[in-house]
């Protein structure tokens, strides 16, 4: 029980107080900077596939900061984070299924 309390206090000190507030504003400026860079990049004429990869990489970075710092998942027990995040691996299979079987299905329906 004591170790539980200690862990709780440590998590508390990371989410409460002047240092925590400062960190939150830092995350805000980071998210804003990434968004501005993204909008700027949308007007460049770099290879479209490369650009899309960059956009999705930035999106994952933004998601990491929102979930980790705004939703405090970084300060929760790691077991909880695993349970909540692991199911999203299934989305990879979903994308594969939608593209691969979706293409076959489209072929059957429209013949092209």
């Amino acid at each position: 029980m004591e170790t539980n309390q200690a862990a709780h206090d440590a998590a508390h000190s990371q989410t409460v107080g002047p240092a925590a507030r400062k960190r939150l504003w830092k995350v805000f400026w980071l998210l804003l900077a990434i968004t501005l860079v993204e909008v700027a990049l949308a007007f460049t004429h770099i290879n479209k596939d490369l650009l899309n990869t960059v956009f999705f990489a930035f999106t994952i970075v933004k998601a990491y900061y929102i979930v980790g710092y705004f939703m405090h998942l970084k300060t929760e027990r790691s077991e909880l984070a695993w349970i909540l995040l692991l199911p999203f691996v299934l989305l990879l299979y979903f994308i594969f299924m939608a593209l691969y079987e979706g293409t076959a299905f489209h072929h059957v329906l429209f013949g092209s």
Partner: protein, 270 residues
């Protein structure tokens, strides 16, 4: 009582050391995230299928308040994103204040979050209005084309007099080449669920569906925030000193921001 160390799964205490309400909120958000994932993945697959005729976001979302018909691409969604991120910070600051049981600060930050939410909803209404009304020029819906290749698709004007068009595969035609196309077509202005001037019907359908579903989440979030604001203000949590509900609505609000990050990428950037 044994002195050996028991695993956290042995019972008698919360293995995740969080309140059940927060755990429920997290599990709900995971399920909601899967709903949005399904929408976005199906959007991606269909868009991939119609890649050649799919419109570019920077050609569709070009309006900005007070700029009239002048083209300011993507600036407005950039502003909407800024508003939502800002309201996320004010929300997390309300959560921080709730840990210190500072009722006054909770009221301030939560009020600012609600204002941010209203700004976002208003912006979305504005964006939708322009999307539905369309451009001054409009476009044409090709009913029957000479080679039957673009039947039912959208072509755009390339000049002010509306005599020449650009085909869906981005082939530019001269006025004389355009005539047979224009003869069997009808004018389209703006967007609805059946036809839109920007591209395939699917484009507007997904735009309305996904941004609408997200906007509805924002609307619910604002409503929930207002209810909790009133409860805090009335002093419903004064006696217990337990402001856990702020953390739960905070999770929901950040999730709405998180979804927007993905919607923004899929609909406006890619």
């Amino acid at each position: 009582m044994t002195t050996e160390k028991l695993s956290i799964w042995a019972g008698g205490k919360s293995p995740f050391s969080i309140h059940w309400g927060k755990l429920y909120m997290w599990i709900f958000l995971v399920s909601d995230a899967f709903t949005f994932s399904s929408l976005l993945i199906s959007y991606g697959v269909l868009r991939h299928k119609f890649l050649e005729v799919w419109p570019h976001a920077y050609e569709v979302f070009v309006h900005f308040p007070l700029f009239g018909e002048k083209s300011v691409p993507l600036a407005y969604v950039g502003l909407m994103t800024f508003i939502l991120i800002l309201s996320s910070v004010t929300m997390v600051l309300a959560v921080e204040a709730s840990h210190r049981k500072s009722k006054k600060e909770i009221l301030i930050w939560l009020s600012l979050t609600i204002i941010g939410g209203f700004f976002f909803l208003g912006s979305q209404a504005w964006e939708w209005t322009h999307f539905i009304m369309g451009s001054e020029q409009g476009a044409i819906h090709l009913i029957k084309t000479p080679d039957n290749k673009f039947n039912g698709q959208i072509a755009h004007w390339t000049n002010e007099d509306r005599t020449a068009i650009i085909l869906p595969d981005r082939t530019v035609l001269s006025p004389s080449q355009s005539t047979p196309y224009i003869a069997n077509s009808e004018k389209v202005e703006g967007a609805n669920l059946e036809v839109n001037e920007y591209g395939p019907p699917m484009f507007a359908d997904y735009f309305f569906g996904v941004t609408g579903f997200h906007g509805f989440h924002v609307f619910s979030g604002v409503a929930i925030n207002i209810i909790v604001l009133i409860l805090v203000w009335k002093g419903s949590f004064d006696k217990s000193g337990n402001y856990g509900i702020i953390e739960n609505i905070g999770l929901y609000w950040h999730f709405v921001d998180l979804v927007w990050v993905f919607v923004f990428t899929c609909f406006y950037l890619v």
